[in-house]
């Protein structure tokens, strides 16, 4: 294998694939990236056994071939090379080393047998539908914060993606919860997604795909089976195992009978919560909301720190109500809301509370109150 490639192109692709490689690996080959030269393309593959990424980029291939080299080392080298450099890669004839040359710098990297590199499942996934990168960002951004990190309930460690039908309306829904808060976002069901199974996309996949589509504005092709999901766009294919478990019946915890409606300017609400929570104890982070007609009083007390009170002008005409929330959860939810208006729909001080974005009917959040 011998090829030359522009440093910028190589660096961009390497940055993408090396991010999948875990810093600590018990299986040495998983620290490596598989480099394959063929035609006029260089293909880079990395995997952690659950998640695999393949990215292709243009290169001038002198002689085709493949090798595996340590991913983070190669990334660090290319990162430090001068801008605009041409990088030459060549596999030694005995296959034990890859030589990397750029200008006056020379590196040799130890390889591991490419045959040992785990094969990425090339199998065809039965369901396939297109999704715009904008929509995918929307689904992820508004649910990701609620993904649980609790290991015992592993089936909460991802986003539950499924097709939902209410009457004639079909929607693609993303749901995440950690038991304390829940986020549900939907969008019109893309064509081809009618019969997809409900799947739980693991957090690492969610994070990786989100990073990769940051600046993409085209379409992403989504493919699915019961056990795998794949995102393909531009020259990147990201495939991940799904979480094998059943997501809780979240519809049952979304309150329907709450009757007290509070509307408040999102920005001022968020900032007030942030200010008042400065006093909340590090452990509970509790903030109390006292609702009276047209006024909400936010307060926090802590034995060590003191007290904080702030009054907010709101739209509220329900019965007086005192309710406590974890301030971090309130901030997280407020941060998801794009519009100016935030709506809380409450029942009493112990029941789940609905949070809505007045400018976006497609997203909905549920928060559990806490005792204050």
């Amino acid at each position: 294998m011998k090829l030359t490639i522009e440093r910028t192109a190589l660096l961009r692709s390497l940055a993408h694939v090396q991010s999948v490689v875990e810093r600590r690996n018990t299986i040495p080959i998983l620290s490596n990236v598989l480099v394959e030269a063929k035609g006029d393309r260089l293909s880079l593959t990395a995997t952690d056994m659950d998640l695999a990424i393949v990215e292709q980029t243009a290169a001038s291939v002198v002689s085709p071939g493949a090798a595996t080299v340590p991913a983070h080392t190669m990334y660090d080298i290319v990162r430090k090379l001068p801008d605009g450099a041409e990088v030459q890669m060549e596999l030694a004839t005995d296959g034990a080393q890859v030589a990397l040359k750029a200008g006056r710098s020379r590196f040799t990297l130890a390889t591991l047998p490419k045959e040992d590199f785990p094969a990425t499942a090339a199998s065809d996934l039965p369901h396939r539908f297109p999704l715009s990168a904008v929509d995918l960002r929307g689904l992820i951004d508004r649910t990701k914060f609620a993904i649980s990190t609790e290991e015992t309930r592993y089936y909460l460690n991802g986003i539950y993606l499924h097709a939902f039908s209410a009457g004639k309306q079909m929607a693609l829904r993303a749901v995440a919860t950690d038991g304390h808060r829940l986020a549900r976002v939907e969008m019109p069901l893309p064509e081809g997604a009618e019969n997809i199974p409900g799947v739980i996309v693991p957090r690492k996949m969610v994070n990786e795909i989100r990073k990769l589509i940051e600046e993409v504005d085209g379409m992403v092709e989504v493919s699915l089976s019961d056990s795998r999901i794949r995102f393909a766009f531009n020259d990147i294919v990201l495939t991940s195992k799904l979480i094998d478990g059943s997501f809780p019946d979240y519809q049952r915890v979304i309150p329907t009978g709450n009757d007290k409606i509070l509307e408040v300017d999102r920005r001022s609400f968020r900032d007030a919560v942030d200010r008042v929570s400065t006093i909340s104890s590090e452990k509970s982070r509790a903030v109390k909301l006292s609702l009276r007609p047209s006024v909400a009083t936010l307060s926090a007390t802590s034995a060590e720190n003191g007290t904080a009170v702030e009054e907010l002008e709101v739209k509220y005409d329900g019965a007086p109500l005192d309710i406590g929330f974890n301030s971090k959860y309130l901030l997280d939810v407020a941060d998801q809301i794009d519009g100016d208006g935030l709506q809380l729909v409450l029942a009493d001080s112990v029941a789940p509370t609905l949070v809505r974005d007045l400018a976006d009917a497609m997203s909905l959040y549920v928060l559990m109150p806490m005792r204050v």
Binding site: P126, Y155, G245
Partner: protein
Amino acid sequence: MNEASDGTTTAGFCRDCGGLLPVIAQEDRAKRCPDCRSPRVLYHPEIHDLQIGHIDCDAFYAAIEKRDDPSLRDKPLIIGGGHRGVVSTCCYIARMSGVRSAMPMFKARKLCPEATVMPPNMAKYRTVGLQVREMMQHLTPLVEPLSIDEAFLDLSGTTQLHRRSPAQSLADLAKRIEQEIGITVSIGLSYNKFLAKIASDLDKPRGFSVIGRHEARAFLAQKPVTLIWGIGKVGAEQLAKDGITMIGQLQEMEMPALAKRYGQMGLRLYYLARGEDERSVDIDAPTKSISAETTFDEDIADFAVLTHELWPLCEKVSARLKAAGLAGQVVHLKLKTAGFRTVSRQVSLPAPTCLAETLYRAGRQLLERESNGTWYRLIGIGTGNFHPLSDADPLDLADPEADRRRKLEAAMDAVRAKLGKDSILKGRSLARAKPTGSGNKDPGSKAPGSKAPDSKD
């Protein structure tokens, strides 16, 4: 103060009438109290200077049963479970035949076939234990319970209050426990917890032993290292490898050498061997865990049968949590194999719980992983990392059924409070567990919440 330190004079009092005895030369000690003629006179040069007491009830469970049924009084009595269980407590008559607590039941029966065997009545013992504790708390607020039937008491500064030295107060307490509750206790008195606890064990039953500063070091020198708190079988073996079996040997060693060799344990050895223990009597030493376990009549390997044994234990732990106003966030499962190897597994719950059902689900999940054909002789479940009951079992957005389970259990508890413990039971306490195979769990069974294995890819 008396001239104790030169060892030539001593002070004392009568444990029965409480009368002070004059400070006299060691060799002139009276054998009986000059006032009431009781032989239970207690002399020690430092008797009125020591503040830390350890009270331990004598053969606690057995003593209570004998109190409640005088016909048992002069017979050997063993409290313990089934013939596969172990001895919880045995009375002193049974001990004469060689019966000891924690001894397997079959062995105890062999040693003392004429013994009366009773299953423990924990609720009753707990009530009595609390009565004793209340009496201790009248003496000093600084009471640190170690278990239901023993506690440390720090009596510093109570001499003025009770117009009696700590030693006299303790002796008086022991007398009143005998009169008012009807059981006996043994008392250890010293200047720290380590020695007080050792002392209470020296003169059981109905004893009162004193270890003073003056003789502590010499006293300890003659004792095996296993007397030191925290040195169990493993620690003793480690020390024995280095040729250390007696505390006296530790007293010869320097701190750096001990610390280098045994780390943290070495430091403790250094101080305790010299009779130094800085731990204070800590009233806030709260309950750290609540657990229940059972030993089977015959070893069990079957998952379904094991879970059947697990459920009543969960109910027991749950009842105690609810009674104590606690909710645990960590669930421990304990198993003992037929070969006496102990297996402990634990899991942290998303939120603290007091529910039998939640303990059971967590315990069953832990058990499933250990249920691989191994034969077990004991199962136990416990919980720790306590929170107040008000934080228990909050609504959980990820578990829509949780609230229904909580309400169901609350309803069952309400019925039980009214009609008795066994008035309402879950089906699983009745169903005869059906073995799922020849000692193996069903290989097809999966954890709840899992779906069909992937087949498409």
